[in-house]
């Protein structure tokens, strides 16, 4: 049986430790700040989080660049050349064109490496929720499942991974065109903190508005309580953009409400961070299938 490489991209927000633990690689996207491009390393090797958020606060034009054909070719060939097949767990197609690009170039590469397979899975999520989908694929691969078995299971279960996020403001997401929000989220929103989920279409969907930061964190946990399954055996991932204190507060609220196997904190990566702006906090976990 051919070996299988699991790849994801810069929006998965997987830490180096997790990538090493599960043997997952990623295709980097890029960030463009005032016209200058920087590779979006998940380990913040090219720039620090505070630098990019500082730029955003100053009002710099920060744009993100999806995985380029050049990067795909380089990354995929790295594994194909070793005689491996590839499963690419991509950022939600509602947020990035990367999945589509991957699917377009795959046939050319397969032609170049006869007998190989490349499967692009649309995670229909981003940040650590996409990361958890990639981790599931890697776990199945490590268990010795075939590529078809892995793809079938991941496709069937990917929307069991939830994202709930609280943001300080929807402004950055609106400017980036990466939020689906009803009328309730426009106009005079004094003190209002929107809560987003990743919906069935893979959009960042503004589902609720809550007055005050603390209340929004509490609401996140109560939403999570309503659909999480088997929390005692789950590690819960909390990621944040430049608001570690709030992330810890969220963790404390979580621990006061339910028992979980562990909580892992980490930064939101540069791509997701560039879309949501500073002050966002997101939680990823496995639960009942998303139904919104």
């Amino acid at each position: 049986m051919r070996k299988i490489a699991i790849l994801t991209d810069s929006t998965s927000d997987l830490s180096k430790a997790l990538r090493e633990e599960y043997n997952i690689d990623y295709c980097p996207m890029a960030v463009s700040v005032d016209g200058e491009e920087y590779s979006a390393s998940l380990d913040y090797e090219t720039f620090t989080p505070s630098w990019i958020y500082g730029k955003m606060r100053e009002g710099s034009r920060v744009k993100t660049v999806q995985v380029t054909v050049e990067i795909f070719n380089k990354k995929f060939e790295e594994y194909l050349a070793q005689g491996m097949d590839i499963i690419y767990v991509a950022c939600s197609s509602a947020l990035s064109g990367s999945c589509n690009t991957g699917r377009i170039i795959a046939p050319e590469l397969i032609e170049k490496y006869p007998g190989s397979r490349i499967v692009c899975i649309d995670a229909l999520a981003s940040t650590m929720t996409e990361g958890l989908v990639a981790v599931l694929a890697a776990q199945l691969r490590n268990e010795g499942k075939t590529i078809d078995e892995i793809v079938d299971t991941v496709e069937a279960e990917k929307k069991n991974f939830h994202m709930i996020a609280a943001v300080e403001t929807l402004t950055y997401l609106k400017n980036a065109g990466r939020v689906s929000a009803g009328k309730a989220f426009f106009g005079n929103l004094l003190g209002m903190k929107p809560i987003l989920i990743s919906n069935l279409k893979g959009e960042n969907y503004a589902i609720k508005k809550v007055r005050g930061r603390k209340a929004s964190l509490e609401e996140m946990i109560s939403m999570m309580q309503s659909d999480i399954i088997d929390p005692e055996n789950q590690i819960i991932y909390i990621t944040h953009s430049d608001c570690e204190e709030d992330a810890k507060t969220l963790g404390a609220i979580l621990e006061s409400k339910m028992k979980v196997k562990g909580i892992v904190y980490g930064p939101i990566g540069p791509i997701v961070g560039s879309s949501v702006g500073p002050g966002a906090i997101s939680i990823a976990y496995k639960g009942q299938p998303v139904n919104i």
């Binding site: 009803g182 009328k183 309730a184 106009g187 005079n188 929103l189 004094l190 003190g191 209002m192 508005k209 809550v210 007055r211 005050g212 930061r213 603390k214």
Partner: protein, 552 residues
């Protein structure tokens, strides 16, 4: 003259006299104000409430019928808490008189009991030391002594005597009254009404001294009659014609005038005829397209005492226009009605998606009828109401009981700030009223309101010395600070809000009378003292209040 039987006609005159006497003493009642805060004056609220009954109730001999119609009128006119309680008092009275032609003294006594009992029911948690205590004790404490020997005058005398004792005792029962050194204003107003009844029975005649004022409750649909009836129009509905004819000896023999013959004549030129003869007076109501024939005929027998004629095409158009306006309103699952004052605040509500914003508030309490008129303009399954003032909540609740075409939900917002926080949680896309109410109620949770205004007199409240005209601030309904500077008074009030350091949001409504400099001074101080709070300034342009702050 001893009056032991009361009919509808007498009751009408009695109530008119009650209104006249209350009006004459309105200012005295208004001045019985607990707080040195400008507010909806009790005397005016009660007067406008009962006035709506007196003005809009047709004469009827039948006491049951008259009192039921009167109660309906008063109910619609109810504004302010005292007005709502008063309207329920009259409702109770009418319930006890229902089905009666006339009432004797014992029946009237019992009706006064039913009246106060109904008034109590209007209040969720009745407070003693108020109008409720006065109207209860006034009849309960004399109940056993009233027997057949009493006539109406001596019953009312006894009622007033006992009510006055209760009124004087109100400060002993309600600490706020004692502290302010006043008796309960609502109780005083009720006694003035009863005194009017007594004066009437004593032979005093009240003129119709109603001040010329534009009624707030005029129909909300304004029509230009030129559009309905002009040079090209054709008369379709005829004229509603009403007159009273004095039969004259020089023209006929009044005793022999045959009303039936006259009705037969009327039938040849009109319809909807009501006509009767009372000795030498003939009263006529008829719809006709040719009134001149009737006038000519009637004048053969006598002369007109009164004459009224209205073009029914226009009358009808008014009714139709209201129906059309309602139909024209797009059907919605949920519509919103809010009461507020201040151009900026009204605009804000409209921007946030409020369907109807009624201009009202602290000094102008919205009446039940104004709410009902607003509801009529909407075409919605559910209407959610934001009274935004504790004195308007009851009128809104009463309107809810009356209006049946939509389900009404009253959010008991006690201030503009609470209303703002509640209303901004509304999701314009939400169609499920239960979910929407949940959204909205979540918004009021833990909102503290600070309002800064100016003292209306020198007094001491809660140990705080207020000087007439000087700034005073309230946290909720408690006066907590006073200062020559409106900014410093507001800041001092803020420091008294529990847990103020941990508050996250402050909505600041700037009043009409404060300057940009004062606003600047206040926001700068807030920024320095409470750096973690997000402050939003809204140019509310409200009067009465320099600043209204919603903190949560």
């Amino acid at each position: 003259m001893e009056i032991k039987t009361i009919d509808g006609l007498l009751l009408k005159d009695l109530f008119a006299a009650g209104l006249a006497n209350l009006r004459a003493n309105e200012k005295i009642v208004n001045d019985l104000n607990v707080f040195p805060v400008p507010d909806g004056d009790t005397g005016s609220n009660m007067r406008m409430t009962i006035e709506n009954g007196v003005k809009n109730t047709a004469e009827s001999e039948n006491i049951g019928e008259f009192s039921a119609n009167f109660a309906k009128g008063v109910l619609m006119g109810a504004r302010g808490n005292s007005g709502v309680i008063l309207s329920q008092y009259f409702k109770g009275l009418s319930l006890a008189l229902k089905g009666k032609e006339t009432a004797d003294i014992l029946e009237f006594r019992d009706a006064l009991v039913e009246a106060y009992k109904t008034a109590y029911k209007a209040v969720v948690t009745p407070t003693e030391g108020t109008i409720l205590t006065v109207c209860r004790e006034a009849i309960e404490f004399i109940y056993d002594q009233i027997d057949d020997s009493y006539d109406l005058k001596s019953l009312i005398e006894a009622w007033i005597k006992r009510a006055t004792i209760s009124l004087e005792e109100t400060p002993e029962k309600l600490a706020v009254l004692k502290e302010a050194g006043v008796v309960d204003s609502g109780g005083a107003g009720l006694i003035y009404i009863f005194e009017g009844l007594l004066k009437y029975l004593g032979g005093e005649i009240f003129g119709d001294e109603a001040p010329a004022e534009v009624s707030h409750s005029a129909s909300s649909v304004k029509i230009d009659f030129k559009k309905i009836f002009n040079a090209d129009s054709i008369l379709t509905f005829g004229y509603c014609t009403e007159f009273i004819l004095q039969l004259q000896n020089c023209k006929c023999n009044p005793a022999e005038f045959d009303i039936n013959e006259f009705i037969a004549f009327l039938e040849t030129v009109g319809n909807s005829i009501v006509a009767f003869k009372d000795e030498d007076i003939v009263k006529v109501h008829v719809h006709t397209t040719k009134p001149y024939i009737i006038i000519e005929k009637a004048q053969q027998y006598g002369e007109f005492v009164t004459f009224k004629m209205e073009n029914m095409t226009i009358q009808n158009a008014q009714v139709e226009a209201e129906k059309q306006a309602k139909k024209a309103a797009v059907h919605k699952e949920i519509a919103y009605v809010a009461v507020c004052q201040g151009e900026g605040i009204i605009d804000l509500y409209k921007e946030l998606g409020c369907d109807i914003v009624l201009n009202g508030g602290q000094t102008m309490n919205t009446s039940t009828e104004e709410f009902v008129e607003a509801f009529k303009m909407l075409n919605a399954d559910h209407i959610i109401v934001f009274p935004n003032n504790k004195n308007i909540v009851m009128a809104a609740e009463q309107a809810k009981e009356i209006y049946k075409d939509s389900r009404i939900h009253v959010v008991k917002t006690g201030s503009i700030a609470e209303g703002y926080f509640a209303f901004s949680m509304m999701d314009p896309d939400e169609k499920d009223v239960d979910v929407q109410m949940e959204n909205i109620l979540a918004g009021i949770d833990s909102v503290t309101t600070i309002s800064t205004t100016h003292a209306t007199r020198d007094t001491t409240v809660n140990g705080i010395t207020c000087v007439n005209g000087q700034a005073i601030s309230l946290v909720g309904h408690d006066l907590v600070s006073s200062n020559p500077s409106t900014v410093l008074s507001t800041l001092e009030a803020m420091s008294k809000v529990e847990d103020i350091e941990s508050k996250e949001v402050i909505a600041l409504f700037k009043g009409q009378s404060v300057s940009e400099e004062e606003l600047e001074e206040l926001t700068a101080a807030i920024g320095e003292k409470y750096p973690s709070a997000e402050v939003g300034v809204i140019d509310g342009k409200q009067d009465v209040y320099d600043f209204i702050l919603g903190i949560c």
